[in-house]
């Protein structure tokens, strides 16, 4: 395996907005090492979300090459992308995105269900919940949990399938600063302990400061002025 988890070469993304073509990404190239902690920053409209969607394999670039964990994913079809997302990417969202009707454990189990794993799912999900410090909340439903706890469940869900990277989109955006700090600490500790690559999309400089490297975007291009 290469040392690079992410190799992005000349990524371009063009959206068709009615008659107009909007270039969200205009040739972005960078690499991220295995185990690195990187934040992606940029004002709104800079192509930050588009880049995150592309790196998270939720969307395909219009052109350019994207190699994730040694696999070129640029030209994959929907189902292949789904498999890559399932195995290699762990998502943490700003609004947690937990399914409200099922327990924390069942939420964490979800990625394993889609992996086709039938044995030992509960044990692995429980293990992940222990890793985020929620061993006492395993059978609670999201509505019975605080915001910080919900985000911990989401993090457990992100790590349960041992992905190559965690993609966190404003993970502390919906939390107060104290809880936000706890969540950041948790994410950074997971990175330290297990060496999981961590990519945080944020506009909060305080968070960006805690990461080893900052990728700044401006108008769909890397901003190298700083």
């Amino acid at each position: 395996m290469t040392d690079w988890v992410i190799e992005a070469k000349e990524l371009r993304k063009v959206y068709q907005m009615g008659e107009m073509e909007v270039e969200a990404l205009r040739g972005v190239s960078f690499k991220i090492k295995r185990g690195e902690v990187v934040s992606i920053m940029g004002p709104s409209g800079s192509g930050k979300s588009t880049l995150m969607n592309t790196l998270g394999c939720l969307d395909r670039p219009s052109s350019g090459e994207y190699i994730l964990d040694g696999e070129s994913v640029g030209q994959m079809n929907d189902d292949q992308l789904a498999i890559v997302r399932n195995r290699k990417v762990g998502f943490v969202f700003q609004s947690f995105n937990l399914l409200p009707r099922i327990t924390a454990l069942a939420n964490v189990e979800l990625p394993l269900r889609y992996s086709g794993i039938t044995e030992g799912r509960r044990a692995r999900a429980a293990e992940a919940l222990v890793a985020v410090g929620l061993e006492n909340r395993i059978n609670h439903k999201p509505t019975e949990l605080s915001g910080g706890q919900q985000q911990r469940v989401a993090i457990a869900r992100a790590i349960v399938n041992q992905p190559a990277m965690i993609m966190a989109d404003e993970p502390t955006g919906n939390l107060d600063s104290k809880v936000g700090k706890e969540i950041m600490t948790l994410l950074l500790n997971l990175n330290k302990d297990k060496g999981t690559t961590l990519i945080i999309v944020t506009h909060d400089p305080m968070i960006a400061e805690q990461t080893g490297r900052v990728i700044r975007l401006r108008d769909g291009e890397l901003d190298k002025t700083k």
């Binding site: 969607n53 929907d78 498999i83 997302r85 009707r101 990625p111 889609y114």
Partner: protein, 420 residues
């Protein structure tokens, strides 16, 4: 995703919104219940009609005036449907058929004429079918007397003013059916002495046989029912020697009548119908009835299916974010498709099962109401109807689930996650 998993998840999400799932279910329940109940009622009607046709006896043959092509079926009034140029049936025809040499397969023959007339006793009046018949009529039609004696050959020869009446007729005129022998009633204004009362038989294919009056054929011809020719009769009943001999007897009768009426081949001016002919006509009619009832019920099942589609579409829109999340976590198109299809099929399957129970209950109550009103009518829930209802409701769930499920499965994860 294994099958049980998909099932559990579907149950989870359906129970998440119980009222909505319940209402959607209700649409299918009503549809399936309607199909089951309607088919049961149709089947019951068919059973009851075939049953009463079977009751007229397997050996019996009916000879009517008028060719097959001019008949408007056995449901029409016998003997009146002929066109002007056909020769009527006569007593002579009946006697010829009764000849054992030319018709060896015929055991007994009875000619009759029929009309409706007002029967009265004291102040009570009743409009009833009056049949002019001979002694053999009672044998051929399997008529049994509860009281008194039948019309005899002597009555016919003497043009006697006597009558045998049905138990319902007696009930209407006297308020009771026993002890009325010897009373004198008026049929179309003329006095007739009651010599016998028939045993109750229940409803029949041609109206109740319990409400009628039978008088000697000659008396009827002379005084009640004037026909164009002397000795003209409406229907000749013939009894074959056995059920197997019915086609043979029918052919023999046709031969005799062709000879006597001098009709060219293929232009018979009479028709010979057996119980089998009535059965096939009746089953044609009842099948149409069943298709009609089933069709109406199928429409409500269809409406139920559209209800499922409607609610699934709402559900897909509502759960767009959930779908986006599931896709982000690695759900493939197929996984989402199966998830929603399982939900819609489960809805329709559950609805189908509950609908069968309801439909059966409806059919059962219809039967109870019928028997409470002394109607011999038992709705029959057949296994094939149940199978059909379950299959079609599940298929409807699948069919109407496909579009919403496909819509869900085709959502772009990026778009779906952004949706709120």
């Amino acid at each position: 995703m294994t099958f049980t998993q998909a099932l559990l998840e579907a149950l989870e999400s359906l129970s998440g919104n119980k009222l909505r799932s319940g209402l959607t279910l209700l649409g299918i329940v009503i549809g399936v219940a309607a199909v089951i109940a309607m088919l049961a009622v149709g089947q019951g009607a068919q059973d009851s009609i075939t049953g009463s046709i079977n009751g007229i006896g397997t050996n019996l043959l009916f000879v009517f005036r008028g060719g097959q092509d001019q008949q408007d079926g056995p449901g029409g009034p016998p003997g009146r449907s002929s066109s002007a140029n056909t020769r009527p049936l006569t007593l002579g025809d009946a006697e010829a058929i009764a000849d054992p040499l030319s018709a060896p397969s015929v055991a007994a023959v009875a000619a009759s004429i029929q009309t409706n007339a007002e029967i009265s006793f004291g102040g009570e009046k009743s409009n009833t079918q009056v049949t002019g018949a001979t002694q053999d009529y009672f044998t051929v039609r399997n008529l049994v007397l509860a009281e008194g004696e039948p019309i005899s050959d002597a009555h016919v020869l003497g043009r006697a003013s006597v009558a045998v009446i049905g138990p319902d007729t007696a009930e209407k005129l006297f308020g009771h059916s026993d002890g009325v022998v010897g009373e004198t009633i008026r049929i179309a204004g003329q006095p007739f002495r009651i010599i016998g009362v028939l045993e109750a038989k229940g409803g029949g294919a041609f109206g109740s046989e319990d409400d009628q009056a039978i008088i000697p054929l000659s008396t009827a011809q002379a005084r009640l029912m004037k026909r164009g020719a002397v000795n003209e009769v409406d229907v000749i009943f013939a009894q074959a020697i056995s059920a197997e001999a019915v086609p043979q007897a029918s052919e023999e009768i046709a031969q005799i009548l062709r000879q006597r009426h001098r009709t060219p081949v293929g232009q018979d001016d009479f028709s010979v119908l057996s119980q089998q002919d009535f059965l096939s006509t009746a089953s044609t009619i009842t099948n149409v009835l069943k298709i009609f009832l089933g069709g109406i019920a199928a429409i409500s099942l269809l409406v139920g299916g559209i209800g499922i589609m409607n609610i699934m579409l709402v559900s897909v829109t509502e759960r767009t974010r959930e779908i986006g999340l599931r896709k982000a976590l690695g759900a493939r198109k197929r996984d989402i498709l199966i998830q929603f299809l399982t939900e819609s099929s489960l809805l329709s399957l559950l609805g189908g099962v509950i609908g069968i129970i309801f439909g059966w209950l409806i059919a059962f109550s219809v039967g109870q109401i019928a028997s409470a009103n002394d109607v011999a009518f038992i709705p029959a829930v057949s296994l094939s109807a149940i199978g059909m209802a379950v299959t079609s409701s599940t298929l409807i769930g699948l069919f109407f689930g496909i579009y919403p499920a496909n819509r869900a499965a085709s959502l772009e994860p990026v778009e779906a996650l952004r949706y709120d």
